[in-house]
Amino acid sequence: MSIAEQDPNAAKVARETAGTETPRRWLGKSLNRVEDPRFLRGQGRYLDDIKLPGMLHAAVLGSPHAHAKIISIDTSKAEALPGVVRVVTGKDVAEHAAPLPSFGAGPIVQDMIAIEKVRHYGETVAAVIAENRYIAEDACDLIEVVYEQLPVVLDPVAAREEGSALVHEALETNTAYERTFSFGEVDRAFEDADRSVTANLYWPRSTGMPMDTNGAIGDYDPGTGVVTIHANSMNFTYFLWLIAGSLKIPAGKLRLVPVVAGGSFGSKFFMHKVPTFAGFLSMLVGKPVKYVEDRRTHITNNDHCGSDRRYEASLAFDDDGEFKALRISCIDDYGAYLQFGTGTHGNALSQIVGPYRIQHVEYSLAAVLTNKNQQGAYRGFGAEVSNWILERLVDLAARDLDLDRVEIRRRNLIPAGSFPYRTPTGNIYDSGNYQGVLAKVLEDVDYDHWVEYRAKARAEGRHVGIGVVASQERSVFSSTEFWFWFDDPQFTPTSSPESASVRIGPTGEIVVTLHSQSMWGNSPETVVSQVLAEEFDVDPASVVVNYADSQNALPGTGPGGSRYTVMVAGAVAGASSELKDKIRRIASDKLEVAEADLEFRDGGVGVVGVPDRHLMLADIAMTAYMFRLDLPPDMPSGLAAHCTYDHPLTTLPNADRSDLGIFYPFVGHAWHIAVIEVDIETGKLEFLRYAAVHDAGTIVNPRTLDGQVIGGTVQGLGTALYEEILYDDLGRVRNESFEHYHLPSSMDAPSITVGHQETPSPYTAYGIKGAGEGGRMLAPAIMSAAIEDALSPYGVTVTSLPISAEQIVEWATGTRSD
């Protein structure tokens, strides 16, 4: 099959890094992370650890109502409190600022402080800038706001009906977007198939909930007019220049400084409100202002809830278990605003058929606005939900056919010889060996043993269940998922590159600058150090990594959609290639041998096969910087190279959107198997075994990859079993602290065996695929399957999450104890 042209620069990088004749020296090893020591010593320098001279502190007053007109705000008592510098309301925003950025269509306007009305509980209605946070919070309590409550829109189905109250009057409806995509001949496939199953499924609103909340320090310099904002966002060069628009300043006067983040999981992806807000407050008072969300504000007002979806979904299949067609209809409760448009469904369409040979797909979406905190990104970005839907349908089909759940999946897997494989939506899967991953996980877990164990346990009246699920893990978005929804999109980005600058200083040390992100729990410094070690054969711990601020940055996108390792490896490899060419020329001159006879080894360059003919990088670098007349005649001084590495393989959607193009093509594959025992008296789960096997292409660092798999899996267990943001009848959040929003603890998490298979991507540097989200894509499906299996005597079908202990007891005993 012919696949569209690969980006030429990326193709060169892929070609140069594909070599597997010699074993890799540094890639693929479980090296200790170079990021670790400063965090282990408590020297992480997170946002709230930073103090600037003269810095003031802000706190916000959140709305106690989900939907209300703001009639008046009396700030006089707050302003009179000693230590208060300024009280800020929507009036200031209306006068001095513009709305926050949004990629949703239509008049859905969000301001950093609500102006005329509030649209969700916790939405900011005022802020106080004070000498310290204590005073700022005291003063918030003294602000008097008169509201006129409006009818609350909470049910996304009712919100679509005529006569519903409107979240955004200017939109004239609460359905912000509605469309059906059809790929193949879905109706005919359903008619022709022997059977089908249909399920109504609900995925609850939860959130990434990092330990470090979103924060920023604005630092306006009245002299130059430059607004410097230190922030723990994940993306600094992608779209954060839009902040300048909100602040009504020229983008060149905005300087965003990356600050380490204590976790994101999506909640700091394109995080714009908090940095804009801190910048705005600083401009109002002409001094640095720090604003860090407290936990309550993070839960009620962080703009980063995950998906909240009601589905009707059907799978058509034949009597022999062969899948034929998939039909999915979804109503998604996006909350009060629509900052990313419906990108979280575009994401799902990249791997909507999973690892299976399904040819016909219909996908309908209604994106609905309600009076809730809006959706943003959460690990999986919507594809974790669609995978749960697909795997639920597959389990139902297996039950319908009385066919083993492994066997039905095995029969439908895309064969190993068919890559690159074009899926019905147009996205491709670059490479894979799904049968290999399945065989490995069955062997690792000794599946037959557990099947026998389950039979014996059931005979003893115990409730043991096995879950077996598969997932694709698409990686490296190209941005089209945000706009292919529209026939006439207003803004059609297709460039989502990553850049790296590699400098070898006069003394031979390598310093690399990254251009889009802060470190937030991923391992960017370890990744680039291992790549540079691979290229130059230097000690990875000797590599120095820093992060450019936005005024000094080359094009970049930042992490998200499991893209960073793939993309930064490509950028570093590209820059290294250029530097290595120059170093080879200098060394060839000095050693008087042909460039082809040189190799990078032992921290320098040597003649192949001649151990003592070798120059250290420091020798070459000093010449490059200080001895121009010793360099080849046409060569400029210095050893620095910059590479902007574009998405290696992406194409445009077609006009009628029957083909969405290639937009998420580096696709990993995974299987998880869990064996659990359920106590039907208490609903408590015990893990007897949990095994995962992932294929993420070439592995940079097996242990950090294990960390992503295990961490993502436990986060997915939280989604499956515990986590849901609960609203009362008035739209107030009922669980706005960790007391009632339960995160998995060490006692809830299983011990997980992680195995790997490596099927390199033909398109990326070294064949790497992204792997930051897979665990969370599988865990909800596996818990649903395992619990359903354990409770099979009671005929249970899991159709909604989270599956609470109370729910389990009710299923098994018919009584409810909450």
């Binding site: 020591p37 282990l40 010593r41 997170y46 909930m209 330990m211 999981f265 936990r295 729990g521 295990i710």
Partner: protein
Amino acid sequence: MSDKRVVRVEVNGAWYDGLVEPRRTLSDFLREDLDLTGTHVACENGFCGNCNVLLDGETVRSCLMFAVQADGRSLTTVEGLAEPDGTLGRLQQAFHDNHGLQCGFCTPAMLLTAHEYLEAYPDGGTDEQIREAISGVICRCTGYQHIVESIRAAAGGGA
């Protein structure tokens, strides 16, 4: 605001004096007044344990204590775990060797909580005991498994 009080505490072996409002939390006192920002605050109401420090050798939630309550007492924070030259302590090294951290935000509290545990169970105990010991500290990144392995490895080194 009520009158300020003098607080005198020993932190990591050195004595510090402070003048604080009675309502000032111990975590704010450590972080803002003493510039010991290794202690992190994540929920401010005692559920996540990310602010744990050792008070006379026992873990406490520094967000739930007032600085004045620590008057005259001895504290250990994460800054006290490494050697003065920055060399990682045994537990820190075990976390480094076993990938016991990702974003690093809960790490100081995990280290101090594990430190307390290993004082009581120098041989490391069972995985179940380790998991129970750290169950009051929430980590959102790691899924805990590599933390458990780190603590066990530190015990193997003779904690």
